[in-house]
Structure formats: structure tokens, C-alpha cells
């Protein structure tokens, strides 16, 4: 008994004043954010949610006029309709989510202790369908992106709030996402960080590289190049291909863990999805 208490006390102390044995997610976040606010001292923290337009004044005006008649408006309507249309069994998506699925995107992705894995919003949309006897949707675009866009839209203005619970499995998922972000890969040997951290604001050919801080606030994204909406895993695949790396599957454990780390780094930034990009 006494020994147990001592252990508990020690653990308690550890959580009050964390010891810097290994960088904790909170420390990572602090350093990550500081890197970008130092690199772009004129950009207010919340403005990083605007991606490349936060650091590229030249294209910002054009983008702002696009956002006045957003190309994703129809997708939000379609998504809303799908979201509210009952399944064959009479239930709706609302039955699968906290708060009926409204204004909750800021909490995604989250670590589900019961199943021991990272759950993304899209993953749970399809889990909801399966649970109610419906076929799953394709992962990267189409109906799933429309529904996700509607759910994102109802969450606008809420602050990104990804939680890493005190669970070694959650830490492992976070670490694996962090590793994906910083590891060099593909024939061209580049990491996500090479482009979106160390060279954020620089030009690769004529394209300005967006800072990774704020990357996740506005997904799914309408891209002119895609001619439609895409989920963040679609984008991950595209960026992996650019360096001649064979992408992982959308909603693979690898990409869900990457999304976990990537989104955690933007904690505190307000959601503004869906967004519009080149």
C-alpha cells in the first residue's frame, strides 16, 4: 500500500512538472509554433490557418475574391443533404457522433483508447455507415468529402483541440506521425518538413510553399487542380508522389498517425474549412 502510494505520488509529480527526458508533444508544439512565428514575424498566429495565402501577399487578394463565391458551396449543401438523409434503417449520421455531429471537427483526429488507434472524421463517417448496414464510401473525394466538408463547416471558428491521452499507444501513434513528417523519403529524398517547415515561404519553381502550421484547419479542400474537393489523405498522397514515393492508402494507419501529429501541431488554431486552393 505504502509503496503504491509512493509510486502514485511520483507519477503525480511527473505530470505536474514534466521532466525533459524525451520531448513531449506539448514541447514539440511549442517549438513548432515558435519556428513559424519567428520565421514569419508579421503573420498573426491565427492567420496561419490561411495556408500559403498567409505568407504570399501577391496571391492573397485573388484568393480572397474566390472565397467570396466559394467553389465548395455546392459541396457543403450536398454534404448537408447526405448527412441528414436517413439510412435504410431510419437512422442518420447524427446518431454516430457526439453532439449529433455538429461543431465537432476540432476534436479530430483523436486517439480511441478502446480500439488502440487514431480515428479520423472520415474513418468514423464510414464506420457509421457500416454500423447501420450501408456500404462504405470511397475515401479521398466525392460523397465522403462532401459530408466531411459540411461537418467542417459547422465547426468553423472552433479551435483545433487534438488530445494525446496518457497512453503509451497514443504516444506511439503520435511518434509515428512525427517520424513520417520529418523522415526523408522517395527517390527525391525529401521530408514534409523540408518543404513545409525549412522552406516554407520559399519558391519551388513558381509555387510558394505553405507553412505546415495551419495546414490542417481547412480540410477538406477544394482544389482547382483537382476540380473538386479532396480529403487531407488525398493531399498526403499527392505530396508523397511529388518526391517519387509510392503513397500509402487513404486512411491507412500511417496517414492517420501523420494526421494526428500534423493536426496536433496546429492546436489552438481556428477551423476554417472547407478551404479553396490552387
Amino acid at each position: 500500500m505504502k509503496r503504491l502510494l509512493t509510486i502514485a505520488a511520483t507519477l503525480g509529480l511527473l505530470t505536474v512538472s514534466p521532466v525533459a527526458v524525451q520531448a513531449s508533444p506539448q514541447q514539440d508544439l511549442k517549438a513548432f509554433r515558435a519556428y513559424f512565428t519567428k520565421r514569419f514575424p508579421d503573420v498573426p498566429l491565427q492567420d496561419f490557418a490561411n495556408g500559403v495565402y498567409a505568407v504570399d501577399k501577391a496571391s492573397r487578394e485573388q484568393w480572397e475574391s474566390i472565397e467570396e463565391f466559394p467553389p465548395y458551396e455546392l459541396n457543403i449543401e450536398k454534404g448537408k443533404k447526405l448527412f441528414n438523409t436517413p439510412f435504410k434503417n431510419g437512422k442518420t449520421y447524427a446518431s454516430c457522433f457526439p453532439n449529433g455531429g455538429i461543431g465537432i471537427k476540432q476534436n479530430y483526429p483523436y486517439f480511441d483508447t478502446a480500439s488502440g488507434q487514431v480515428k479520423t472524421l472520415e474513418l468514423e463517417i464510414n464506420e457509421c455507415r457500416k454500423k447501420n448496414g450501408e456500404k462504405p464510401l470511397k475515401w479521398k473525394k466525392g460523397a465522403i468529402a462532401d459530408i466531411s466538408a459540411y461537418m467542417a463547416y459547422t465547426s468553423r471558428g472552433k479551435k483545433t483541440n487534438v488530445v494525446i491521452p496518457d497512453d503509451p499507444a497514443a504516444m506511439a501513434a503520435y511518434e509515428s506521425g512525427k517520424q513520417h513528417f520529418y523522415a526523408k523519403r522517395g527517390q527525391l529524398n525529401m521530408s514534409c518538413a523540408d518543404c513545409h517547415q525549412y522552406n516554407a515561404g520559399n519558391r519551388v519553381r513558381a509555387d510558394i510553399l505553405s507553412p505546415a502550421l495551419g495546414h490542417t484547419t481547412h480540410f477538406p479542400v477544394y482544389r482547382s487542380k483537382w476540380g473538386g474537393l479532396g480529403t487531407i489523405h488525398r493531399r498526403y498522397g499527392g505530396c508523397n508522389k511529388q518526391v517519387r514515393f509510392k503513397p500509402f492508402k487513404a486512411q491507412s494507419e500511417e496517414y492517420r498517425n501523420l494526421e494526428y501529429f500534423h493536426t496536433y501541431m496546429s492546436n489552438g488554431l481556428k477551423l476554417n474549412g472547407p478551404g479553396a486552393r490552387k
Partner: protein, 126 residues
């Protein structure tokens, strides 16, 4: 012998390139050394988006829409009195700087040895 068309077809079917690294067509200037010379061949390889794509990161005379991730490639003889060092930088930039974003063109077989030789001749002429 230039076997570019064949190489390009293979490259574009094997490597699915997307995004900014391949967005626009190659622009080559008509001025400069005679077409067909080693320097001219090196320039074509260096500017080709599916080959060297050096313009993605470096400003190079005669190239359009260059990026600014790496330093402009100018006065190369002054910066690299030893041509072998220049070749080594292009063959594997991670040797000098493990964290560099510059791809290891030789080590990862992005370019063949003879393509690298030609690129070196071109870069050395700048």
C-alpha cells in the same frame, strides 16, 4: 546518341509526377552553345522537369520560373575550382549536408552517370 524520347516515356509512366515539380513545360533558350554540344545536352537534362529539374530550386541563366530554395548557380568555376567537387555535390548533396533538400541525383539514380557528366559540363559553364 540521345535516347531522350524513350527515356522520357519510361520516366513518365513509371514515375507518376504531380504538382509543382512538373507543372509547366521546359523552357530552353535558343542562345548559347551550339545545339547538340555536351553543354547543350547537359542544359536540356538540367532544365527538364522529369530529369534534373534544377530550376525547381536554383535560378540558372536561360531558365524561367526558377525557385529560390537553393543558391543561384552563377560563377561556378570560381565557387568550384575543383570540378570533381562540383560533380560530388550533384551526385550526392547529402554528403556535404545530411539535411539538405537537394536530391542525391547519383546515389538515388535520378540521373545516370553520363547524364550527370553532361549536367556538370553545363553547370561548369555558368
Amino acid at each position: 546518341m540521345r535516347k531522350l524520347p524513350g527515356i522520357l516515356t519510361t520516366a513518365s509512366s513509371v514515375l507518376v509526377l504531380s504538382g509543382s515539380l512538373t507543372l509547366l513545360p521546359v523552357t530552353t533558350s535558343t542562345a548559347g552553345p551550339a545545339a547538340g554540344s555536351v553543354i547543350e545536352q547537359g542544359k536540356a537534362i538540367a532544365f527538364d522537369r522529369k530529369k534534373g529539374n534544377c530550376l525547381a530550386c536554383h535560378a540558372i541563366e536561360g531558365g524561367k520560373l526558377a525557385g529560390n530554395i537553393g543558391p543561384p548557380l552563377v560563377a561556378m568555376k570560381a565557387r568550384f575550382p575543383d570540378k570533381a567537387k562540383l560533380r560530388a555535390q550533384i551526385w550526392d548533396a547529402t554528403k556535404a549536408n545530411p539535411n539538405t533538400i537537394m536530391p542525391p541525383f547519383g546515389r538515388h539514380k535520378i540521373l545516370s552517370e553520363s547524364e550527370i557528366d553532361k549536367v556538370v559540363e553545363f553547370i561548369y559553364s555558368l
